[in-house]
C-alpha cells in the first residue's frame, strides 16, 4: 500500500471501493461464465446424445447389414434436418472401425479408418465447449440391441456457442465497466462529501501558517456524528493551544520582570549606596561653601555618583525595553549586562570572570534583546547556584559561523528539574521557575543550541547562536 500512502483519503477510499467493485464484478462475471459454460456443455452433450441415440436406433440394423447406401441416406437425410447445422460431419463405422458412410464422403471415404477422423475426439461425457475450438469431435459407440455394432464420429460446430460466450464476455465487461464507472463516480462523490470535514480538518492542521485556526462553524457537519465531534474537539484543541501560547507569552513577559525583580534589591542597594555619599557631599558643599576646592571635589563626587545612578537606571530601563527594540547586539550590551549583574555578584560576594571578545565578526545581525535575556537569566541562575564566595564567569566569543556564550559557576551541579527545563521541551512541572525554559525558547527561536557540562566542580552552560551574515541577510 506504500504507493498509495501519499494519496488523499478522499481519492483512496473511492479507489478502494472501485477496486472492490471490480473484484466483485470479476468474481460475478466468472460465475456467470462458468454457469454459461456448464449450460452450454449440458446443451451440447444432450444434443450429441440425442444425435447418437437417434442414429443408433436408425442405423443399428443397417450397420449390422453393412448397408452402405442406407447408412449414407439416413445420415444425409438427418443432416438436412435442423440438427444438421450443428453436426457438420457425421461418420459411421462398423465394429472394426472401417467407415461405412459419412455425411461428407469426399472427406471421409468409405472403408477409411475412423480413427483418422477421430484423432482428437472425446467421449460423450467429456464433450465440452472449451473456448478456443469452434469444432468439437465426438466418438461414441453405436449400440444396437445391447451390443456395440459400430462407432459414430461426429464433428459439432460450436462456433455459435463460442460467439454467444464471447458476446456474454463483452456484455459483462462493458456492463461491469459502465456499472463500476458510475458506482465509482458516485462513491467518489459520496466519499468526498462525507470526508470533506476530514479534508477541512487536515487543511486547518497542515496548511495554516503560524498557529492553527478553528474550523468555521459553517463547515462543521450537523448533528452529533464522529466528524462533528472531531471538528469540535479540534476547535477545543486549537483554543487550548492558543491559550497555552498566550500563557507562555505572559509567563515569558513576567519572567523578564521577575529577573529584574530578582535584581531589584541589588539595584536598590546600588542606588542607595551612592546616595549616602551624595548626601554627604551635599552636606560638605553646604558646610564648606566658601571653599571652592572642597566644593569642586564634592561636586565631582556628586557628578560621579549621579552618573553611576544614571547608568544603572538606563540599563534597567533598557532591559525592560528590550522586547521592543530591534537593535543589533554589540559590546555595549555586554557592558550593560555586567553592570546589571554586578550588584548580584557583589551581594553574594562572588568573583566575576568576564571575558567578552566580539572581534571575530559578531557585530552582526543578531537581535540584542533575546541575547541579553539569555545571558542575564543564565548569569542570575549561576549567581544563585554559586552560593557565597564562589566564582561566576561569562565568556563570549564570536566566530565566523556562530556566537558562543559560556556561563560558568562553581556551585553544585544543576538539579535534574532545572536541566529538563533548559535542555528539554517536556511540560513544565509546577513549582519550578520559567527562567531556564525562557532561555531554551529564546535559543530555539534564534536557531541555536544549548549544552551543559559539570567538570571539576564547575558547571558550564554553553549556548551557540548562529550568526546571520550580512550577505545572506541582504538576499533575504
Amino acid at each position: 500500500m506504500k504507493p498509495f500512502a501519499p494519496m488523499p483519503l478522499s481519492i483512496k477510499l473511492p479507489l478502494l471501493a472501485a477496486a472492490m467493485m471490480i473484484l466483485v464484478g470479476a468474481v460475478a462475471s466468472h460465475q456467470v461464465l462458468r454457469s454459461l459454460a456448464r449450460v452450454q456443455d449440458a446443451r451440447i452433450q444432450e444434443l450429441a446424445q440425442m444425435h447418437v441415440e437417434g442414429l443408433s436406433v436408425a442405423l443399428g440394423p443397417l450397420v449390422l447389414r453393412h448397408d452402405v447406401w442406407e447408412v449414407y441416406d439416413t445420415l444425409d437425410r438427418a443432416a438436412q434436418g435442423g440438427e444438421g447445422r450443428r453436426m457438420i460431419l457425421t461418420a459411421v463405422a462398423d465394429d472394426r472401425g472401417r467407415v461405412l458412410a459419412a455425411t461428407d464422403p469426399r472427406r471421409v471415404p468409405m472403408d477409411s479408418d475412423i480413427a483418422e477422423l477421430a484423432g482428437d475426439a472425446v467421449a460423450l461425457e467429456n464433450l465440452s465447449v472449451d473456448g478456443s475450438r469452434p469444432v468439437l469431435s465426438l466418438l461414441a459407440p453405436l449400440i444396437y440391441q445391447g451390443r456395440m455394432v459400430g462407432q459414430i464420429a461426429t464433428e459439432l460446430d460450436v462456433s455459435d456457442l463460442l460467439t454467444e460466450r464471447r458476446r456474454a464476455v463483452l456484455i459483462l465487461i462493458f456492463g461491469n465497466a459502465v456499472a463500476i464507472g458510475l458506482l465509482s463516480l458516485a462513491g467518489f462523490v459520496a466519499m468526498r462529501t462525507m470526508l470533506r470535514p476530514v479534508t477541512t480538518l487536515a487543511r486547518q492542521m497542515t496548511e495554516t501558517q503560524g498557529e492553527p485556526h478553528q474550523i468555521p462553524i459553517a463547515e462543521i457537519p450537523r448533528g452529533d456524528g464522529e466528524l462533528a465531534r472531531l471538528a469540535h474537539t479540534y476547535n477545543s484543541m486549537v483554543d487550548a493551544v492558543a491559550a497555552k501560547a498566550e500563557a507562555e507569552r505572559r509567563l515569558a513577559e513576567r519572567e523578564r520582570f521577575v529577573a529584574l525583580g530578582r535584581l531589584s534589591s541589588s539595584l536598590a542597594h546600588e542606588i542607595n549606596n551612592p546616595l549616602g555619599g551624595l548626601l554627604n557631599a551635599t552636606d560638605t558643599i553646604r558646610a564648606f561653601a566658601d571653599r571652592p576646592d572642597v566644593v569642586r571635589r564634592s561636586a565631582d563626587l556628586v557628578e560621579r555618583g549621579l552618573r553611576h545612578l544614571r547608568d544603572v537606571t538606563r540599563v534597567t530601563l533598557d532591559q525592560n525595553r528590550i522586547d521592543t527594540t530591534d537593535r543589533d547586539l554589540g559590546p555595549d550590551d555586554f557592558e550593560d549586562l555586567k553592570l546589571l549583574i554586578q550588584p548580584e555578584v557583589s551581594r553574594h560576594g562572588l568573583d566575576l570572570e568576564w571575558s567578552v571578545d566580539l572581534t571575530g565578526g559578531a557585530e552582526c545581525k543578531m537581535p540584542a534583546g533575546p541575547v541579553r535575556q539569555i545571558v542575564l537569566n543564565l548569569l542570575l541562575n549561576a549567581c544563585a547556584a554559586s552560593g557565597q564566595s564562589g566564582r561566576v564567569g561569562l565568556r563570549a566569543r564570536s566566530g565566523v559561523e556562530q556566537l558562543t556564550l559560556q556561563v560558568t559557576n562553581t556551585g553544585p551541579d544543576m538539579p535534574q528539574s532545572a536541566l529538563d527545563r533548559l535542555l528539554d521541551d517536556g511540560p513544565l512541572l509546577p513549582g519550578g521557575g520559567v527562567g531556564l525554559r525562557l532561555v531554551r525558547e529564546l535559543v530555539k527561536g534564534l536557531g541555536g543550541w544549548i549544552a551543559h557540562a559539570h567538570e571539576n566542580g564547575v558547571t558550564r552552560i554553553t549556548v551557540g547562536l548562529p550568526i546571520v551574515r550580512e550577505a545572506a541577510n541582504a538576499q533575504e
Binding site: 452402405v68 447406401w69 449414407y72 441416406d73 444425409d76 458412410a101 461428407d104 464422403p105 469426399r106 471415404p109 468409405m110 472403408d111
Partner: protein
C-alpha cells in the same frame, strides 16, 4: 413431377387407395412398383394410379417394395396382379411371366444404361474406374447392374474384384446421388431416369457426367403372370395403358413420367438383355 415426396406418403396413399378399393364392388387391382424405377414420386405415381383406375373402372392398389426381387416374388406368388419390372427379371422368369405393355420413350420402347462419374472425374470409360468404388441400383436391374457387370465380364473382369467396393442403392436416383455426393466414384444408372432427373433436378445430374452409354435395350416392361395375362383385370390394365394417350388426363400422366405412351411388345425386344445375361452366366 414437381415434388419428391417421402415413401411414407406413398404408403399412406396406397393405404387410402386400398380402403377406397374395398369400398367398391370391383376387387382391387394390385400393381407392383419398385423405387428402383422413377423413385418414389407420389404425385406422379398417384396421378398414374388415378388415370389407370379410371381407365380400368376399378380401384388400383400400388404395392411398392424395395427391390425387384421382392416385387418379382410378389408377382410370381400372386401377391400383385401385375408389376412394372425390369427386362432382366422379366427374362429371368420368362417362363412364368408375360408382357402387358412397354413404355415408349423418345419415340421407341428402348433405353440405355449410363455409366456415370462425378462431374470433375477424369475417367473416360469403364476401364478407368478400376479400384474405385461403384454404385449399382439393384442386382436384378438391367441398366443398374447387368450392363456394367457384363461389360466387365467382356473385359475379363468381375465386378467384385474390379471395383474396390460396390454397393447397391436400390434406386436409380440414389445411384446418381451416391456419385454426385462422392460416396462412390462411379455408378450404373438407368439412362431414362438420368435424363428425367436432368429435367427435374438438373443440379443433381450436373454434378455427374455420363462416360459410357450402353446399346439401346428393351425398356422396363409392365408384366403379369403368364396364366393371368389374358384375364380381364390384366387386359383392362393393358387397355388403360394403351389408352393413356387418348385422354387429356392420360397425356398429363405420361408427360409427368416423360414417356410418350405404352405399346404392346414381344419378348424379342429384350434380346439385347438376354445376350448380356448369357455373357454373365458364361
Amino acid at each position: 413431377m414437381e415434388h419428391l415426396i417421402k415413401r411414407r406418403t406413398l404408403v399412406q396413399a396406397g393405404i387410402a387407395a386400398l380402403v377406397m378399393g374395398q369400398a367398391r364392388a370391383q376387387p382391387v387391382f394390385r400393381l407392383g412398383l419398385t423405387p428402383v424405377f422413377l423413385d418414389n414420386d407420389a404425385v406422379v405415381i398417384d396421378g398414374l394410379r388415378r388415370v389407370l383406375s379410371r381407365g380400368m373402372g376399378r380401384e388400383i392398389e400400388l404395392v411398392q417394395r424395395r427391390t425387384y426381387q421382392e416385387i418379382t416374388g410378389l408377382l410370381l406368388e400372386r401377391g400383385v396382379d401385375a408389376a412394372w419390372l425390369c427386362g432382366y427379371p422379366f427374362l429371368q422368369h420368362a417362363d412364368l411371366l408375360d408382357l402387358v405393355a412397354v413404355p415408349v420413350w423418345r419415340g421407341g420402347p428402348r433405353y440405355q444404361s449410363y455409366l456415370i462419374v462425378a462431374a470433375e472425374d477424369p475417367a473416360a470409360g469403364l476401364a478407368d474406374l478400376r479400384g474405385g468404388t461403384h454404385a449399382f441400383s439393384d442386382p436384378d436391374s438391367n441398366s443398374g447392374y447387368l450392363v456394367t457387370a457384363t461389360d466387365l465380364r467382356r473385359m475379363g473382369e468381375r465386378a467384385e474384384t474390379f471395383f474396390s467396393r460396390s454397393i447397391f442403392t436400390f434406386g436409380h436416383r440414389n445411384v446418381v446421388r451416391a456419385v454426385a455426393d462422392g460416396l462412390v466414384r462411379s455408378g450404373s444408372v438407368d439412362g431414362y431416369v438420368w435424363e428425367a432427373l436432368a429435367e427435374i433436378e438438373p443440379d443433381l445430374t450436373a454434378r455427374t457426367q455420363v462416360i459410357a452409354r450402353s446399346e439401346w435395350l428393351g425398356f422396363p416392361p409392365v408384366c403379369a403372370r403368364r396364366d393371368s395375362v389374358g384375364a380381364e383385370p390384366v387386359q383392362g390394365l393393358q387397355r388403360a395403358l394403351m389408352g393413356l394417350e387418348a385422354t387429356e388426363e392420360g397425356r398429363r400422366a405420361l408427360a409427368s413420367l416423360q414417356l410418350d405412351g405404352f405399346q404392346r411388345a414381344t419378348p424379342d425386344l429384350f434380346d439385347g438383355i438376354a445376350d448380356r445375361m448369357r455373357d454373365l452366366e458364361e
